[in-house]
Symmetry: C2
Subunit: 597 residues, 2 copies
């Protein structure tokens, strides 16, 4: 099944909802403008559709193989990566001084959506490289930066993130990998330990791989305050920048996974021969905070993944529903069998997918724009407000988009009926691939705890209340907008229910954190639905105005209104139900004896 980049939908969100022109007007973004972004999108669409999407099933079918530490990627991946690298896509967001293009986050996000939808497994390699690049750019010495950043930004040396160990998953305090000063006295360190779940930890697509590794120095404090960050290249780098000796780091095995088979998930062993050379990034014992810098971006990236894989699944389901003829249309005089897209429940499923994807895209891109403002807004207060917004929205975007990706790709399977269960169809691959997104870079439970604790409670609900006020303003506009009033009513009910849960969580978090935590994931979903509905409400108002002005493609704008109305009737009512659960569901979750579970 082919993939078509949804360029019109993306352009609408960029320009009308996320404020691309404002982002382009920020200091440092002068070289970017909506026309240039259009051209980039068109090129990226060609690449995603023509190069990445066609090898997506190869990745699933063939996966990666490891033989004595050498990982061979699926047919087509190596060549596609070389094309990707040579076209300059890796360095879009990289700093200009190291050869990057310094594009705004909002623009790179749009392009990332296409990579993720076309080939989720493939997209993880540049995504992790970007994360590693950012960590080095913010925290490494100029010497390390000058050695590694140009090669990483050009795509010649992809990067990886090595956090997890068997006993240290969500709980990085348990990291045991060690680093000791190199007896040569050259200022480097010798790293030892085993890391698991290392995405693209080893492969055949590049000459070198730059591993960022969390490890403990001798005498480091216990827990998270004793973790340092190291650069450990696969091949050491000579003074002239050429590749030197093979470093003592090795892929021991590959995991057999439910999905994303195209992406090698490695068990990595450091220092089996006592000679894994690494270089300290920044200061000792600050590794975790450095990782968190990039984890925020990575989490937003995973939110993009969830939305993108949902879009891919939706496109495949629509194509099948147009094609598959089965049973006569209900309430029709025509006795012959109809394409199943005519059946009301199939339409309900397609609209359930579509409306959530559009809501997610709008909210995700809004977060991307806030990221740009937080980085570059000239007004300190605006900058700070944007950063607070980013902090608050990231766990919602990450958690909600990915939880819903599981449901949306499941609907994608369901629409195919029995064929959905057959692997050749491809619908099941999206379902399997999506399943990791609500787990890695922090499970939904981790996101939700972050949301109610570090984000909501720690600032006493300031950003939540700003958002609720903005939602109320949109409610008022919708209620005054004729046939859009029905959206306004549904959004208003959801907004009022959310005020209650915000108050409840603020009142409860300090006094009874366990009770608040029971409501954390329901609250994350509630916020996702409310804010997604808010964005679709904004979209409907804009579409109504465009229609009144006779501007643009009328059918396109009519569809935006239908999507918003559908979401208002099919998703927004869940907000009040979740509010009930959050406010009254804690005790019964906690009271049962642990031994009785």
């Amino acid at each position: 099944m082919s993939y078509r980049a949804p360029v019109n939908d993306i352009r609408f969100v960029l320009n009308e909802l996320a404020g691309l022109s404002e982002v382009c007007a920020l200091p440092g973004n002068e070289d970017t403008n909506p026309e240039l972004v259009d051209a980039i999108l068109e090129e990226a669409a060609k690449f995603a559709e023509g190069v990445l999407a066609p090898i997506n099933r190869n990745g699933d079918l063939h996966g990666n193989t490891v033989d004595n530490g050498v990982v061979t990627t699926a047919p087509g991946f190596r060549d596609a990566y070389h094309q990707f690298r040579d076209a300059g896509w890796v360095g879009m967001r990289g700093p200009v001084e190291y050869g990057g293009q310094g594009m705004p986050a909002l623009v790179t996000m749009a392009v990332e959506e296409l990579w993720c939808a076309a080939n989720l497994s493939f997209s993880l390699c540049p995504l992790l490289t970007l994360g590693a690049t950012e960590a080095l750019h913010h925290h490494a010495s100029d010497e390390l930066k000058s050695i590694y950043l140009p090669k990483m930004i050009s795509g010649e040396w992809p990067g990886t993130m090595n956090l997890t160990e068997p006993q240290a998953g969500s709980d990085l305090a348990q990291v045991r990998s060690k680093a000791v000063p190199n007896p040569t006295g050259d200022g480097s360190y010798l790293i030892s330990g085993q890391k698991i779940f290392i995405t693209w930890g080893e492969h055949d697509m590049a000459d070198n791989i730059v591993h960022l590794v969390l490890a403990r120095l001798p005498d480091a404090p216990a827990g998270v305050k004793g973790i340092s960050l190291f650069v450990v290249p696969k091949f050491l780098v000579n003074a002239d920048g050429s590749l030197g000796a093979r470093n003592d780091v090795r892929c021991v095995s590959l995991e057999h996974k439910l999905g994303i088979h195209g992406s090698p998930t490695c068990v990595m062993s450091y220092g089996d021969n006592g000679n894994a050379v690494g270089y300290l990034v920044g200061e000792a014992n600050r590794g975790l905070s450095y990782m968190f810098t990039m984890m925020n971006h990575a989490r937003l990236g995973v939110g993009v993944e969830g939305m993108a894989i949902s879009e891919r699944s939706y496109q495949q389901a629509v194509a099948y529903a147009r094609d598959r003829v089965q049973s006569r249309a209900l309430g029709s005089d025509d006795a012959s069998s109809a394409a199943i897209i005519k059946h009301p429940d199939v339409r309900r499923m397609l609209m359930t997918m579509r409306s959530q994807i559009e809501a997610q895209r709008a909210l995700t891109y809004l977060t991307g724009a806030a990221l740009d403002k937080a980085a570059r807004h000239p007004d300190a207060a605006e900058k700070q407000k944007a950063q607070a917004l980013v902090n608050f929205l990231i766990p919602i975007v990450k958690g909600w988009n990915t939880e819903q990706a599981n449901e949306i790709t499941s609907l994608g399977v369901q629409i195919h009926g029995g064929m959905g269960f057959i692997e050749e169809t491809g619908a099941a691959q999206h379902y399997r691939d999506a399943r990791i997104t609500s787990i890695y870079e922090g499970t939904t439970g981790i996101q939700a705890l972050d949301l109610i604790g570090r984000k909501l409670a720690s600032e006493k609900g300031t950003t939540a209340k700003v958002l609720l006020t903005e939602v109320a303003a949109t409610v008022n506009k919708l209620k005054a907008a004729g046939d859009l009033a029905v959206i306004g009513d549904a959004l208003e009910a959801a907004q009022e229910a959310t005020i209650k849960t915000v108050d409840y969580l603020l009142a409860t978090f300090d006094s009874n954190p366990r009770a608040a935590a029971v409501g954390s994931v329901p609250f994350l979903k509630q916020m996702g639905i409310l804010l997604g509905g808010w964005q679709l409400g904004r979209a409907a108002l804009i579409a109504r105005q465009k229609l009144a002005d006779g501007e643009g493609d009328a059918a396109f704008f009519e569809s935006k209104i239908s999507v918003a109305r559908f979401f208002a009737a099919h998703q927004l009512p869940q907000v009040a139900a979740l509010a009930q659960t959050i406010r009254f569901g804690a005790e019964s979750a906690l009271e049962i004896g642990e031994e009785l579970l």
Copy 2:
């Protein structure tokens, strides 16, 4: 991960909620009594835990292979089937006159739950055999019955159901397979055509396989009224009952599926050499109605599958959550890391799984008891009422249990964190296996249309209203029961919301069937949650009484109350949200231009 048959929970549902002793008192069930059922359950538990569960992963890992029409099952399956057959499990429900034990549906259902949970792929072979047995028993001639039933009931010759063709999935009107009178004039027919998705269509576990096949006779009317049902054995049967020539039916290939790899899903070809001998079952052109007889039972069986695989996933998640130590417990003074079962969100997930499984088990077994009453109640009015209840509940049990199985097994993966995505863990197998249950034997959309049309509207809501009245009676008892009043309040709100949607659907179905159909799946879910909550409310009342009487295991009964309270706060509020969607969500689903999807 080992499986432990939840015998205590099943016993509670059988005896306290589903009315096992009433079922045992029905004419013809005199040989069954709760003590005997206990003994059967203990034996079945041993078999499920000791024989079927241990080979479940074999099935997933090795699957089946086909070589020139010969299908080889996964290691251990053939031997397990022979043990299963020799222990007499196949014929539990079979008619006594053909060697069966004639056990009530309620009792066989409890045993089936264990087979499905232990090894879903394996369980499909006896499940389909039972369906085929029932179709023959009700509709075939005495001659056919005497030849086939004893061997099928003994398990020597398993049965299959051959309905689907590439162009005929949900829409059996499109069946094209043909049957012509055998030129030999012996009264048999020659069958030709290709059938797909034939579960256990060919394998090495038995000497013969009895295929039930839908095909069209010459000059049969078009559509569903021209389909006849045939028995087509793999090996012809000689007059003395011994096996004769190999029939002209062949497994052409096996499907590559998302899950249930242990069960061979075959493409079957009939009459490649013009000589597939079949025997007409009952009258010509009545095949579809015969199939529907058994499909009702099969659908209930798939509802059991959904609940059972959820239970398996739950058990595995609990075990992991007890074992996995990660992060300190929130709000605890103890700074050391805790088992994740102590984390509130993990408990929320476990209780979300557990409470739905208990609600489903109660509702499913209630349907099983109604099936027995519909078959054997001496009072004609009671019998008819029970049949109406069965008809109404089957699509709900099938649709709700299986839709939730997708969510519940997804939570099972989630609780494992990154390990959930690794196939060796086994959590992902349950997630993949479960995914077929909301598709086969009629998708959820098909169940939901059946529910609002043939079940709700065609009897003008009679059974729905009977159920709503019974729910109201339980509401009143709960509201008068002290600390259970909170459950009563939540159930009451759900009941009132459901009255509105029943009225809406009854008013809409004839005048605007497409609008009603948009709300059909939400209505099915609404009914599942309402009726599941009702059953848990009943369970809580009984548990409260047992506690007051000082009878039985207090901790067990306390846990029943916690489960009901949890469900009331976490599931029942969704009913009102679904009611909003049903009543106000039709137009926006249908208005968007098909070409804009």
